[in-house]
């Protein structure tokens, strides 16, 4: 630990020490200059009788000198600097951590060759007493070689590594460097960061800093004027079309370059078949959307690929996606036999505008319901209809218990008697004999709802929907039983939406009508999303991801439409053909045994991963699409100094310019604030000096004479 100074130039102020010396030697006489007519007699007096050049008050003199020294010290802003001591030991051993970016963007042009060359130069520049570690990083960091004095090991590892297909994040690499340096006992600590300085890799919300005193040297391998054509994302529109579904693929293309890209062929493949090719031209630094013709979807999952030309960074010119089956929910709408033609009008029309998922509704009187009608139905809606009696009612109960969804709307056409006893009581809680009439109060309103519930979570954010604007004139007063979940409530405290789990299925009870007769919710903007969410929740719908991002992983237990018993062996085939054995597990397998079986599919490369397992029906197969992290396509750079300042110990350095010491010094000085204590001491010294000088003053000694 050495004493350093932030502003050593202020030591020039110590020249002012001459002031008290002169004051004490001469000033007292000069301050008392007497103009005398002639010194012809004075000068004849022998010299020895004159007092000159002699310090009279040593204590006062020393106090004044001390005050000036303290002042100069305070302004020079001293601090204890471990780095400065280390820096002076230029021949001291170094602990060097070489951070090499091997993210996908490093495959651009000759970046990787330049990075390797810079790393080799650093390794070859190590002295015999130095130690170095080699860390490769993309969106994750890998400690390839831990602190070694063998350059050959470092060089051998460096030559074996290639750029990955993954994104960039600086934080993990800096974290490893931080740990390596803090463990090191060598006096000089150095980090060599070899990267293309992609801005997307820096997350200001994930602050990491190198240990104090670390010298950060940045090597920028990015070239000027880089350009990249990429497919930024896909928009997959699924629409109901007749009895089936159709898919419209929209590809968003981005040209990040200073020159236009002309005649780019954008191709859509479904399976392995090219179904359509479009040609587009992109202006410099522009984006465009390519929309392909609608494609009719079958019942099976299909995989698709969009290809868009080729350039120096080819990984983001492909985009892979999966279209899973069953993205349309079948809704069976059961009405009262006495229903008006418009009873389900609003409900049906609300469902008709759904696209993701799409809804396909079928309407029939509840009296005509057959048990067979329930097959393949995702949700059954009983709109102001009595519970079906007999075997059909039991079938409906069984349907729900088997995982089916049921939505019950209680309106004017039914009464408690229609939902009493037997299977009905299992599905719907009892409710009062007479409905609650709020006409006298000009209607009640929904006063509360659970915004964390799946039905209402889309209304969680402010101004995302107002249920209080709707007036409810009549509704049935439900009487929840144990296990029932009141999801929403009226202003009089009675449930407005009640949920009940029955077997594997879900029941939602809406104690008022779905038309304008008992309430005006249908005229409110929240009606359509509310109906969508109610239906999706009842159907147990989970939106399947069309693709995953490379660098992530997929748990087998979360795969849509797949129920794998625990212990089921699954073989995963990666895009490059390599296979991995996985084991299904309901509970996630932790990292306790990383070498053991995993229930996670790691996505290291873009493309399609195939999962194969066996069950009672034979071999089953599922495909997962994975794409490069599109943030990696953005080659824009962060200012190296900005990154260095963020990564260093409140300091920064880049290239040959070592900024870490300079900025670090400011922060260290600011945190230590020795100047403040020095100024306090100066104040005390000056106070003593004032008191002492007053005491020694001849005028005070003679009573002001």
């Amino acid at each position: 630990m050495g004493l350093a100074f932030l502003a050593p130039l202020f030591f020039a102020g110590l020249v002012a020490l001459a002031i008290p010396v002169l004051v004490h030697l001469t000033y007292r006489q000069k301050a008392n200059v007497i103009l005398f007519p002639s010194l012809m007699f004075v000068q004849k007096v022998p010299f020895k009788s004159m007092r000159r050049h002699k310090i009279r008050h040593w204590l006062l003199f020393l106090l004044r000198c001390a005050a000036l020294i303290l002042l100069a010290l305070a302004f020079s802003r001293p601090f204890f600097d471990q780095a400065s001591l280390a820096a002076t030991l230029s021949s001291a051993s170094r602990e060097v951590v070489i951070l090499v970016d091997n993210s996908n963007s490093m495959a651009y042009g000759d970046r990787w060759e330049r990075a390797q060359r810079a790393a080799r130069e650093t390794i070859n520049g190590l002295s015999a007493s130095d130690r170095a570690s080699l860390v490769f990083f993309s969106d994750a960091a890998q400690l390839a070689v831990r602190s070694t004095a063998e350059p050959s090991v470092l060089l051998g590892t460096l030559n074996a590594v290639r750029p990955t297909q993954r994104g960039t994040r600086y934080a993990p690499a800096v974290g490893i460097a931080q740990q390596l340096l803090s463990e090191s006992g060598l006096p000089v600590k150095e980090v060599v960061l070899i990267t293309d300085y992609q801005r997307s890799g820096f997350d200001p919300d994930q602050p990491v800093q190198l240990p104090e005193g670390t010298h950060l040297i940045g090597v920028d391998v990015a070239e000027e004027g880089s350009a990249n054509l990429s497919i930024a994302t896909l928009l997959l529109q699924r629409e109901a079309s007749g009895d089936g579904e159709q898919l419209i693929v929209n590809a968003r293309l981005v040209n990040q370059g200073e020159t236009a890209v002309e005649g780019v062929e954008v191709t859509l493949l479904v399976g392995d078949e090219v179904v359509e090719t479009r040609t587009v031209t992109l202006e410099p630094n522009s984006a465009t959307t390519v929309q392909f013709q609608p494609r009719r979807l079958g019942n099976d999952a299909v995989r698709g690929t969009v290809l868009a030309g080729s350039d120096d960074l080819p990984g983001d010119n492909n985009f892979y996606f999966m279209i899973n089956a069953g993205e349309t929910l079948d809704v069976l709408l059961l009405e009262n036999s006495n229903a008006h033609a418009t009873d389900s009008f609003f409900f049906e029309h609300a469902l008709s505008v759904g696209t993701r998922p799409a809804f396909r509704s079928h309407r029939k009187p509840v009296s005509q319901l057959q048990a067979s009608d329930l097959a393949g139905v995702d949700v059954v809606v009983l709109n102001d209809a009595p519970f079906p009696s007999g075997a059909v009612g039991s079938a409906l109960r069984a349907y729900v218990e088997a995982g089916g969804g049921l939505v019950v709307a209680l309106g004017e056409l039914i009464g408690p008697g229609d939902w009493q006893g037997g299977d009905a009581a299992v599905l719907v809680p009892p409710f009062a004999v007479n409905p609650v009439d709020r006409n006298a109060a000009f209607g009640g309103s929904i006063a509360s709802y659970d915004r964390n519930h799946s039905v209402f979570e889309v209304f969680r954010t402010p101004r995302s929907g107002d249920f209080t604007a709707a007036n409810f004139y009549r509704y049935w007063s439900l009487e929840p039983t144990a296990g029932d979940l009141v999801i929403a409530g009226f202003d009089d405290g009675t449930p407005a939406l009640l949920g009940r789990a029955v077997g594997s299925g879900r029941v939602l009870v809406w104690p008022t009508s779905l038309d304008r007769f008992w309430n005006d919710l249908v005229t409110q903007p929240v009606f359509v999303p509310f109906i969508h969410r109610v239906t999706q929740y009842a159907a147990g719908y989970q939106q399947a991801e069309a693709w995953q991002t490379v660098g992530g992983s997929v748990r087998l237990a979360t795969l849509k439409d797949v129920q794998l018993p625990d212990g089921t062996p699954v073989t995963a085939t990666a895009p490059d053909g390599s296979t991995t054995e996985l084991v299904a597990a309901t509970l996630a397998l932790g990292p306790a045994d990383p070498a053991g079986p995993s229930d996670r599919l790691r996505l290291d490369d873009p493309g399609f991963y195939t999962l194969v397992w066996s069950d009672g029906d034979g071999d089953q197969q599922l495909e997962v699409a994975a794409n490069l992290d599109r943030a990696e396509s953005d080659l824009s750079k962060i200012d190296p100094e900005e990154l260095a300042a963020a990564l260093s110990y409140r300091a920064g350095a880049t290239g040959a310019l070592d900024l870490s010491r300079q900025v670090t010094a400011e922060d260290r000085e600011a945190s230590q604030s020795w100047w403040w204590y020095l100024l306090v001491l100066l104040f005390i010294v000056l106070s003593v000096e004032t008191a002492l000088s007053n005491r020694l003053s001849p005028s005070s000694a003679t009573g002001g004479a």
Partner: protein, 306 residues
Amino acid sequence: MAANVTGQMKRGARFLDPEILARIDRLDLLARTVVEGFINGLHRSPYLGFSMDFAEHREYMPGDDVRRIDWKVFARSDRLYVKEFEAESNANFMTVIDVSRSMDFGTGPLTKLDYARFLAACLTYFANKQRDRVSFASFDNDIVDYVPPSAKHLDTILHVIDNIEVGGRSEYLKPLLKIAEAAKRRGIIVLVSDFYEEPRAVVDAVNKLRFRGHDVIVYQVLDRAEIEFDFDESATFEDMETGASVPVVPGRMREQYKQMMAEHLEEISSLMIKNQIDYGLVRTDQPLDEALFRYLLQRQRMGRVR
């Protein structure tokens, strides 16, 4: 004798006190006040019956102006006498004051130059009142101001004196030689200075005037501090003329200084007397009457001689 006169005068002429004079802004008023007061004091003193206007009677000689015959004496004595006045002596009177930088020193209400100015003004006024032709000169190392002799130059001289500014270093031989050459007609020359010069050189320079037949009255003006050297604090003493400075502890050299100053004054005085030069030492804290009286005695002596 002069000391006695001074003692008599002090009681009746407070306005001659330098502290009072320092409060009078107008020099002509100051001169008139001092001189008239001085004269009134003389009238009240038992010293002698002195009239500055009338000198003596003499017998009428053919050719005398008949208008000057004293007819009252003729009536009493039946003899013709004519009045003879001092003013009619038509003598020249010149004050010469040293305006060098050392004269700008004073620890009291007046600097030496102020004192010299007042003294010159009073003497000039006095002389003019006796019908003398008055003139004036100031010098440092050369002539600074010069007003030629004339009975009508009182106002001019007072104006010049009033506007005197401190000059440079003092020198005596050169300016006094010039004055001697300019003042060709015999008269009274009053020289006022602090004479920080070797006594021999001072007397040699003054002799240039005396050898021309002038009656020379020398006033050496000094401040009390110059004589007593009663400074307390250690200080740097700076020569007002040369700028040289010396750190001094006054207490340790006071006696030596006073002894040297006394020897200096004694040597000047003895040399002046030896060369028949009327010399007087005045301190700026002393009233002006002593200096005036010294002039009066000299003027009386000239009248008798004449």
